[in-house]
């Protein structure tokens, strides 16, 4: 009994005080409704503890005075090229994860943090048809991996250069179909093996004469990843890069046939198929918004209005920075300009709220991390950006970026 009391005492001592930070007086774009003026946001141990007006400030809290400033959720780039080395291209294979090829010592991410970006999805670049697995990474000092296998990236009918895309589509669609059919057979073979094995072990236990051990099928990592995308219980997200309207249609057809959890990337020429995308309830990562040096046929019908067209059709739209080499935007720099890309999309018909959602809550939903990220709500992770003024105004600057409740950037410090 005495030992137990001692143990409790020790535990109480070791148990650290919750680390509480309070951001007081900011206008808060929660992402869930009208912004709250002059609000109080309480952060505890890296999470958002409370959001509201006239909340009591705990006396032990570290106070961040933010009157006249604006608080938004940390920005999420749903298609970043951060940490991808120069000249890097595929072709990957389904089981290869982009994480294994990233240069995590690149310092470019610091400039993205200065602009309020807290999480990025980095996918394999397109070369070939099945490009591999992408990952979601938090932009803290440790580059914490939020999701290792965030999505399987496929490419459908992108030129990868300046040649015609028609031939690519004829080739890539049946090839993708065959790959998924093969993966389906592979999954069935394994399912049968597991059933046979259970039966065999049962029979062995009962000492039956006809007990015969089934032959173990070969492990094929590539098919295994594709099979995960086909299995509704495992639910691996499939991202398909598609630019032209007919490539988008083919992607939708593929998703329907194989019941894929599809996310479209780019959807450059989405206009004519916007209603079909909405009907299929397929979200889209749109971009790049800035058309610079887009000589490739993939971007022939590029428009900064694509995000607005899709949102008006009822599609969940995230804006990704991409930084696509074929878009003349080589390198990881594009993530710095994520908010600018959203602002430019707003000039083409998105409301400012929709534009903000396209770089916060919508990418969180598309990545499947919206239970913990993308808005300022009780219980969510405290990834936040404190702005000097209204989002998207030319004079507004990011004053402070917080990841997991910790300040990782303060304006003027670097």
């Amino acid at each position: 009994m005495r030992v137990l009391a001692l143990l409790v005492a020790v535990l109480l001592q070791v148990q650290p005080q919750p680390k509480i930070t309070v951001i007081r007086g900011a206008k808060v774009y929660t992402g869930t409704g009208a912004p709250l003026e002059n609000a109080i946001v309480i952060l505890s141990n890296g999470r958002i503890e409370a959001v509201g007006k006239d909340l009591p400030v705990p006396p032990e809290a570290k106070l961040i005075e933010a009157a006249g400033k604006t608080l938004i959720p940390g920005l999420i780039d749903a298609a970043s090229r951060l940490f991808i080395g120069p000249g890097e291209r595929g072709p990957g294979s389904a089981e290869q994860n982009v994480l294994d090829g990233l240069d995590l010592y690149q310092r470019d991410y610091l400039e993205a943090v200065e602009q309020g970006v807290t999480t990025v999805y980095v996918g394999p670049l397109s070369a070939g048809i099945v490009n591999g697995l992408g990952a979601a990474i938090r932009l803290d000092d440790a580059h914490t991996v939020l999701l290792k296998d965030a999505a399987l990236k496929l490419t459908l009918g992108a030129s990868g250069g300046d040649t015609s895309t028609a031939l690519q589509r004829y080739e890539s669609y049946p090839q993708l179909k065959q790959s998924f059919e093969a993966a389906r057979l592979y999954a069935e073979t394994w399912d049968k093996y597991r059933r046979d094995l259970t039966e065999f072990e049962q029979k062995k236990k009962e000492k039956k004469e006809d007990a015969k051990e089934p032959a173990k099928p070969k492990v094929e990592p590539r098919s295994d990843v594709l099979a995960r995308a086909l299995d509704p219980k495992r639910n691996l997200i499939v991202r398909i890069e598609a630019h032209s309207a007919d490539a988008i249609s083919l992607a939708l057809r593929l998703a329907e046939e194989f019941k894929l959890r599809l996310v479209l990337e780019h959807a450059t020429e989405a206009g004519p198929v916007a209603a079909a995308i909405a009907k299929a309830k397929v979200p889209v990562v749109v971009g790049p918004v800035f058309r610079t040096g887009l000589y490739s046929v993939d971007y022939l019908n590029h428009s900064a209005a694509t995000a607005a067209v899709l949102v008006k059709a009822g599609v969940v739209v995230a804006i990704g920075s991409f930084g696509d080499e074929r878009a003349g935007q080589s390198g990881p720099g594009a993530t710095r300009f994520l908010a600018d890309a959203a602002a430019f999309a707003a000039s083409k018909g998105l409301t400012r709220e929709q534009a903000l959602a396209a770089i916060t809550l919508a990418p969180a939903r598309i990545l499947g991390i919206d239970k913990t990220h993308g808005s300022i709500e009780k219980g969510k992770i405290a990834d936040l950006a404190l702005l000097s003024g209204e989002p998207f105004d030319s004079s507004t600057r990011v004053e402070r970026t917080l990841i997991n409740g910790e300040t990782v950037y303060t304006r003027g410090d670097r």
Partner: protein, 366 residues
């Protein structure tokens, strides 16, 4: 016959010259660029020219009124000092390196899809330049983005020469093959006191530090009326550029640029150097001219300097500042109505007037 003559006389009486066509823009925040901003002001346009601008004044009864919604900003149409709009890859004779008589405007197609796309960009005047593949590429011309056919869009066939010290001008199958050779050939040409090259401004493609140094050497030696084009790596030579009084046609800025490059236009302007922005279309579309300005502001350029770099300074560099580049009485009514501050990228173009005519209006559909 007599009836016909009477009809003709009546018809002539109806022409604009007999009775000025008057248009009034009413409301909004006027940003003339040349002077102080005016809240809820008015602009009276007569036959395509700004007749009066200022606080509300008495308006001729026959003026057609366009009410500008509250919150809108009204600015002069932007001017792109260096572009190959509507003439991509068609603006240099590649067999010779000195083609001073070639005119970039000849390659301009008013029916090019990029030209149609540019009508709603907020840019109303474009300096059309030869490419950078020739030592002397030819003449920089001026067109207006008025949606009209080529001959009616053309303002001037020659506002200056285009020269290039870029690597693209150096080739192995003809002279020059090196920058040494390039500078030597230019010295020879410019050494002739009767050289036509000294009669007009010279727009010199110089982006890398060495190219900029060569350009400034030539300027100092021949007292050229020079404009540095691109000047992306000008950051280390600001003091020399300032001393030479050479203006800079800077840009375009993209998401890939280094922080130092993004900060360069702001540093140039702070040093007192005249800076104009360029799209270098089709490298970036005309609508990116404003994006370059917004990026420059984000990385430290003064707002007023950025607005001047989109309007009056490119007008000056193209020798067109008598006619455009600010909202001033007597200048062409090249006017763009924005939904808000044009340096905030979320603002969009609502209405474009070129020479007093509405050439573009935002439709409800995006």
């Amino acid at each position: 016959m007599r009836i016909a003559i009477v009809a003709l006389v009546l018809a002539l009486a109806q022409t604009p010259s007999a009775k000025p066509e008057r248009l009034l823009l009413k409301g909004g925040r006027l940003v003339p660029v040349s002077g102080a901003e005016i809240e809820d002001g008015m602009i009276l346009i007569e036959d395509g020219v700004i007749r009066k601008i200022g606080a509300p004044f008495e308006v001729p009864a026959d003026a057609k009124v366009i009410e500008i919604p509250k919150g809108s900003w009204i600015l002069p149409g932007f001017i792109d000092a260096h572009s190959h709009l509507g003439s991509a890859f068609d603006v240099e004779e590649s067999t010779e390196s000195l083609t001073p008589e070639a005119r970039a405007v000849e390659a301009f197609s008013s029916r090019h899809p990029d030209v149609a796309a540019a009508l709603g960009s907020g840019v109303t005047t474009v300096g059309l330049a030869p490419g950078n593949g020739n030592l002397i590429g030819g003449r920089v011309g001026i067109v207006k983005l008025n949606g009209a056919r080529y001959d009616r869009a053309l303002v001037r066939v020659s506002a200056g020469f285009k020269a290039s010290l870029g690597i693209e001008a150096l080739r192995t199958d003809r002279e020059p093959t090196s920058r040494t050779g390039a500078v030597s050939m230019l010295r020879e040409r410019l050494g002739d006191p009767k050289s036509e090259l000294r009669s007009q401004p010279m727009f010199v493609h110089a982006s890398m530090p060495g190219e900029i140094e060569s350009a400034l050497d030539l300027q100092a030696a021949f007292k050229l009326n020079m404009v540095l084009v691109h000047a992306r790596e000008a950051g280390d030579q600001i003091e020399r550029i300032r001393a030479s009084k050479v203006p800079v046609a800077f840009g375009p800025l993209t998401v890939s640029d280094r922080k130092e490059t993004l900060a360069t236009p702001g540093r140039l302007a702070r040093a007192g150097i005249r800076v104009a922005f360029i799209s270098d279309a089709p490298a970036t579309p005309e609508e990116h001219l404003r994006v370059t300005a917004a990026f420059a502001v984000k990385y430290g350029m003064d707002r007023g300097a950025a607005l001047r770099a989109l309007t009056i300074i490119p007008a000056e560099l193209l020798g067109a500042s008598q006619a455009c580049g600010s909202l001033d009485e007597g200048k062409a009514a090249d006017i763009v109505v924005w939904s808000g501050d044009p340096l905030s990228l979320s603002s969009g173009v609502e209405l474009v007037l070129v020479d007093g005519r509405v050439t573009w209006r935002r439709s409800e559909k995006p």
